[in-house]
Structures are given as C-alpha cells and as structure tokens.
Symmetry: C3
C-alpha cells in the first residue's frame, strides 16, 4: 500500500523543554467539540485558550462553564505556525479536532511546533483511505468490501470522494449504470453498501491508566456512542421514494449536521472491545500507537455482525451529546465527558512526569 | 400584512397589586410540560397549582417530585375566567403552554386577568401565519418559500392547514396535481418542502439576567434541542414507499407523539444565536418583546443552511427530554430544565422588584 | 385459549429458608442488562455475581462500577441446575433477563431452585403468543388485529414467527400474495401492521411501595421509555424503496441492535398508566401478579391511540439508556436506573420481612 510519508520532525521532549507542566493551557479551535474540551479542561483545573478566526465568537457567552479563559484571534489558521513560540510560552497543549486538522491542513498540523495531545503520526495512516484500510485490515477489522472496478458493481455501493469533508459528494449506486450516471472524476472509493444500523463507538485509549479494558501496554475505555445525523439522507424518506425523488433532481446527501444518542445491545460489547483492542495494538506496531479518543464508525447487520467503515483517531463530534456523562461513562466515573477525560489524561501524565508519552 | 388585533386590556401592574411577590404560586394546565414546570418551580421554592378538567389526574402519583401541591379542578377551561380573583388571591402566576392557549382559546387567554409568564402580546404575532412570517421576515430569518398559487407548484411543497393542532391535516404534494387531489377547502399555507434534518432550538430570553448571549436589552440562552417525533411520517417508511402506500389509502401524517434528543454540529451555533437574537430584537420592535422560553423550528440543509419553518413563543414539549439538564444547559448550570429556568426568572425578577417586567 | 402449563414446583418460602436476607448476592447472566443490574445492586449495598459461559468476559474491566464482585463460569447454562445449592449457600437472588430465560430455556428457568426476582409464573402467560393475547385482551389493552387467514389479508400485515429471538424471520406483507411469497412453514402470527411511532414503556410494579400510581394492591412507576433500533429496517430506507430493494434480494429485517431515548407527549400519560394498571390487575387475577419491571411495547397512531404489540414481563434492554436516571425517573428519585430500582425493592422487602413477596 506504499510507504508512509516522512514523519513530522517534531521532537516532543524538546518542545516541552521549559514547560511548567503543572500550569498547562489547554487550547483548541473554537468549533467542533470546543465547548466540551474547554468545559472538561476547566473541571480538571486547566486554563483554556480558544483559537478563532477574526473576532472571538459570541456564542460562548451563552455557555459560561464552557467558555475559554482567553481567545487567540488569528486571520488565517496558518498564523498558528508564526505563533508557535508564543503558544509554547503559555505552556499550551493543543487538542486536535476535525476542525483544526481540516483548517490548518494535515502537513502544517504535522509540523506545528506546539505540543499536541495524542500521536500526530496517526494522521498519516488515517487521512489516506488506502492506508487506513491497511491498518484496519491488519487489525482484522471487518470492513465493507471494496469494488475497485465500476464495471463490475454487482450490489449496492457507497461511493466516497477522497478528502471530502463531512460526507460531501458521496453517493449510492445500486449498479454500474447508476454509478456511471454520476461518474466522479476525482479520486474516490467504491465500497459495498452495508445495510444495517449505525453505531459510532467513542473509545479512549490510555497508555498510563490502569482503569479500563487491559491491552498490552495500556487500557481502553468506551465513553459513549452516537449515531450521526446526516442531511439530507436521514429525513428525505419523508418526501417519497428515492427512485421518484431522483426525477425531481433530489438525491440523498450525507452532510453531518448533528448527533443522536444511542446504546448498543449489551451482548455486542465483547466484539466492541475486541475491535478497539485490535486497532490499538496494530497502531502500536505500525506507528507507535494512538493515544486518547478515537472512534470506530460501524454498521451492525441483521446477523449482529459489525462492519467498520471508518476510523477517526481523535475526539468526534458525537461526544458532544455527553457533556456530563453517558450511559457508558457513568459506569466509570461521575460527570465524565471525553473532553474531561482528555484533561484527566494530561493531569495524570504530568503528575507522573510522563507528559511526553501522551503528547507529540 | 394587516394590523395586529387590539391588544388585550390587561394591566400587569394592576394585577400584581396586592401580590405577595415572595410567595407566588406557579400554576399551569395538567398537560404538555406540566411535570417539568412543577418540578422546576418546586426546586426554586415555589408552591404549585395544577389546573385540570374534572378529577385530578392520577399520573402525578408516579412522579412525586413533579406533582403540584394542589389541584384546581374545573369543568371547562373558560371557568378560569370566573376564578380570576381566587387565583390572584393565591398569588398565582400562570405559565402558558401550548395546552392552555389551545384549550382556553387565544382571545380568552389574552384577556385572562391573572398574571402570566411572558408577554401575551406575542400570541397576536405567532398565531396568525401571515403575521408570524412578517415577524420572521423582518428579523431576516431564512424560511421555506411560499408558493401562493397551487397551479404553479414547481417543486415539492408542504401544505399546512391554519389553526390545525399538532400537524393534523398537513400534507406533502410533489406537484400541482398532487395538491389538487387533496384540494383543501380551509385556509392553508403552501410552502416549499425543504429537505434536510430537523432541529428544534430551545431558547430562553431574559430581560434581566447578565448570563447569556448579550442582546440589546437582555440575554439569550440555549437550553437544549430536540427533534419532534411525528406519527405516522416518522415510521411509515418501514412499510414501503409512499407512492405504493398511497394506493392502500395510507398517507403520511404529522401528529406529534413525542420527542428525541439531538445535538447540533457545533460550527452551526453562531448561526443559531444570530437567528435567536434577530427574533428577540424584532419582537422588541414589534410588540415590546418576547420573554422566557421560545423555540425556532428549523431544518438544516446539506449546504448547512438553516430554514425556520415555525416559531413557538413559549415552552415546547421537546424540553421534556431535559428534566435535569441537557448537553447545552449543563454548560450553564447544574440540573437546569426549562421549567426550572422559568422559576428562576420569576425569583430573580421578584428579588429585584421587577416582576412586572417578565409577566403580562 | 387452553390451560396454563402446570406451575413450577418451586416453593419460595422453602428456598429462602437459611437465607441471610441482609446479605443477599444479586446474580444475573453477563449480558442484556447486566451492567445496569450490577451497578444498581452495588449502589444498594449488595454483593453481585456474574454468570458467564467459559472465561469471564473482559469488557467489565472498562466499566468498574458495573462489574460484578465475582463470576461464576459455567460450560452450559443448564449447569446452573447442578449449582443450585452452591448459589443458595451464597444467598443468591437471580434477576431474570431475556438472556437468562432464552439461554436456560423456559422450563429449566421455571424449575430452577434458586430464588428469582419477580413471579416466574408470568412466563407461562408471556411466552405463548395466544396466552399473551388473552392476558392483554382481558385487560382491555388495544392490540393490532389478528388476521388468522392468510387468504383474507386485506391490509398490510406484520408476520412474526413464534419463539423467534429479537425479531428474526419477521416480515411485512401488504397483501395475500406477498404473504404467500414467503409462506412461512413454522408457527407464526399474522397481525395488522399498525402505522405510527413506537414507544417502549418501562414500568415497575411494586407490591410493597407507597410511592407510585396506586393500584389495588401496590404501586406502578414509569422509569423511562425508549425506541428499539432494529437492523436493518431502521436504516434500509436510505438505500431506496423497499419495492426496488426487494428485486436486489434485500428485505427488511427486525433484529434489535440497540435503543434510542425518547419522551412521550405528556397528554398521553393518563393512557399509559391506565394500560399499565390494567395489565397489573389482570396479572393478579390470572396468575398471582407480576412483580418488578415490565414493558409495554406500543405504537401511537396519528389519532393518538395506542396499540400494544407485545409485553415483556421483565427488565428490557432499553433501560440501558438510563444508567443514572431518565427524564421520567428523575421525577421520582436521583440516580435511579431500573437495575437500581430492582435492588431497592429487594432491600425494602428484606427490611419488612417480606422477601418472599417479591421473589419466586
């Protein structure tokens, strides 16, 4: 599947030199899961910094417990590269989210000389669909089948455009003819459409904690799960059959607009943890491991089998449902969001003198 | 768009004369959001009164924390007009809900000589579809387009009957022919059918509080959001395509039976508050403002644009999901329902000697 | 409708002889709702025992507050029959779930000489579709109509195979022809397909408590409600119309994979409790009563009428949504799951010397 791009030349030990590890500032971009991240960081006693384009967003006024202590207003995200020293002087740790990676660009994010929660190398395996599949394949994770040749589509398929944000441009084709009607001219993936119900599993992997499902070098927790709510596919059925709507120029689209809470049949939990563990162990082998929150995006078929159609190796927006706990996190601790769990991991690492082991 | 009907002749200062403002009784009709309202009022130390038709409903026995302290059994809702003095003698403040307005009738509600939470004048702008549209239009709120001429339906439309409760009689037409098949003979609105995912935004506007998104004369909070669950449209797809079911005499209907929790993509929050603020400011201009809970009922398209198809200017049933907090309210305070927030506003107003500013 | 099978010859007073009623161990099979049951039992101060096939499941490591104190590893569920004395020596009370009844078999479960929460006799009325219908009919519960003759199917029907687990094999037919295409050769029920929205009502009936909706000999509570999430019917609409998918060999299936939270229109609560009460009272008449959690599985039509398509007379998996409370349970007590409510009932019964009245 080709080689990984050259690793980013960020030496975390060097970046942390001069840091007051008991006085970190937790920073993230003012979007995606920022309320939860600031809220959680504050509960663990951290200062917080909101990175925003232009003037500071006013919506935090309505959520005083989740507003950052300060804002860093920039004109474009690449300004962050100029401000590295200033950020380090404030002992900043950046919490990566889908927004920061998207806005800054993967390359810039990888070379940002500011300590970042988690292992940035994961991005090299996650952002490329072929490499992501290699990772999950090696872990033995069941995935929807690829159908590389459009001429040989023998079942309904889901076609995803590479690098497209939040489902944009994705489409369903029930056969080759339907595929050729769209005939996408950008790189894309054709995979079988798996019929079933979707569960987005919110994991947290800690290299330090003893509390959780024990893996070879750390522990795994399940902090919650959600279902993504996509416009327009999740409500277009109300208007009529897709086959009829098509003639009106209305096609299903898959843009994430929100999230719905859900719990999973308990007898599926052993499989959930087996999958999570396999992904974690393979990450250790391939690129030194994945730290903190990640999400397996799954479909459960009517045979009660999982198919994983994607992995997100950082905090996902579905965790926004669980500001002060979830049906799963409540079995671990009171008042535990994924945002807070991140801050706890920072606190635990700092107190053990192992901050470098959870940052990159 | 015509003139507003003559304002109700209720002088709130006069009504409050003789009130012991530290000993209010919070009253509402035993339906809709009454559990939440009583529960919240009690948490803030208020006595509560449940207004019911006939014998007191037994279901409160199962919810002791949310049962009113006393019941007022009446034979018909208009009996309330006879009982005004008795209610005022108990320092009653009525919390309006969809039930009380529907059962009492808008005119009777407007002239009820008992202090009522919020500004009753809003009803004159909300209950008439044309005036509601004028209000939202002036506020710059994006709405589904109107298609006044049935002969010129050039896209799927949603047809709503005026004054119909909870979606009754509403129907979808994909073209003029489908419209004429139903051909409603009562006043109705034809608007484009916007395809997307629905979010019902639970706002709370306070003219008194400093905590919240700052508007010109008060602050705005977002206490939660939900999706309405409508029978039969939300599950009829399981039976087959609408186009086939039609031949069996089964048509989609839109009667609200419940609510489902949901969170919104965080990057949409700036738009949420901008819309909320615009509605609040325009309400101040048009009729002296809207106080307390209100709801924008929205659709988010796959372009991540909002369309607001309705405003409810009082507590909505979707808040029943959040008895002891929501993913949004938890960023404001512990254990905060919209029912409790109403009681807090009463408490704050009373303590500042400004009760008249939140009642009408 | 025929006679009930001979009652199980378990004398609960005899089984409890020698029990230290202040030192019970709460046991259940490691599946279904076990996390919630162990979590709740522990909150009420009980020891807990997880019954599992083979080695102890590892997933409890991730949920330390919900892990049992000890495991009992067995090779097959019928081993429990051999271990009765050992279980009684530990003062074990078994909490029945769908899993334990399914794995052990109804007959074995009925004769298991270990105290079991609730009245086991209910199983004889619940597990047979005809007897279940007799019970609900006598209670005056509105149900979907039966259409015994496939040749006379005059409306859409839902066909359920007897004894099938979790919806397996069930199918929809819009007319006789569609029925005969499947033509099931195993015992099955044909009932009208009721179009509407589904609500699964989580009741708890206590013969001991004063807190709740008062029935003739005890009280009824509503601890929550959910909607079942079924694969593939709940998401197959995204792929296209059923009528088209059928030609691709894709049919709706009804296998439960999870649960979604929901609240019900408040004005329906009187009907909810009236139905719950009727089922409880009829159970008292028919077989001495039903104790503890049960669930009415309902559809609400667009006329706001309930249809009950099934009763489950024990804890249902939808309660897993409400680990630390629900929008309804929060009106009763803090931090109340159905699992915890069971443990509270045990505690209350033990303290009153009436353990035998909630066990069988």
């Amino acid at each position: 599947m080709g080689e990984a791009p050259a690793p980013a030349h960020v030496d975390i030990e060097e970046l942390l030199r001069g840091y007051d590890v008991d006085d970190l500032t937790v920073a993230t971009v003012c979007s995606h899961t920022s309320l939860q991240i600031f809220h959680g960081a504050r509960k663990e006693g951290y200062k917080t910094l909101g990175i925003c384009l232009g003037p500071q967003p006013r919506f935090y006024e309505a959520f005083p417990r989740a507003a950052p202590d300060a804002f860093l207003s920039i004109e474009r995200y690449t300004d962050l590269l100029r401000l590295e020293q200033q950020l380090r002087a404030q002992n900043v740790v950046v919490i990566p989210t889908g927004s920061i990676v998207e806005y800054l660009g993967a390359d810039n994010f990888l070379r940002l000389r500011v300590p970042t929660f988690g292992n940035r190398k994961v991005l090299q395996w996650e952002s490329d669909r072929a490499r992501q599949r290699e990772w999950l394949d090696r872990a033995g994770i069941p995935m929807p089948r690829l159908l590389p040749d459009p001429a040989q589509i023998d079942r309904p398929v889901f076609v995803k455009l590479h690098g497209a944000k939040g489902g944009r441009g994705a489409f369903i084709a029930k056969n080759s003819a339907e595929y050729y009607k769209v005939n996408p001219q950008v790189p894309h993936t054709i995979q079988e459409y798996v019929v079933g119900t979707r569960y987005y599993l919110h994991f947290f992997y800690s290299p330090l904690s003893d509390v959780g499902y024990r893996c070879s070098r750390g522990t795994l927790q399940l902090l919650g799960l959600d279902r993504r709510d996509e416009s327009n596919v999740d409500e277009m059925y109300k208007l009529g059959a897709q086959e009829v709507l098509r003639d009106l120029g209305i096609y299903p689209s898959f843009v994430v607009t929100g999230n719905i809470p859900v719990v999973l049949r308990e007898s599926l939990l052993p499989k959930v943890f087996a999958m999570g563990e396999a992904v974690v162990e393979t990450a250790l082998d391939l690129f030194g491991g994945m730290i903190g929150p990640f999400c397996l995006e799954t479909i459960v078929t009517d045979k009660l089998e999982f198919r994983v159609f994607e992995i997100s190796s950082r905090i996902v927006a579905g965790t926004n449902l669980y500001t002060t706990g979830s049906p799963y996190a409540d079995y671990l601790a009171d008042d535990l969001s994924t945002g807070r769990r991140i801050a706890q991991e920072l606190r635990a690492a700092a107190s053990k003198g192992k901050l470098a082991s959870v940052l990159s």
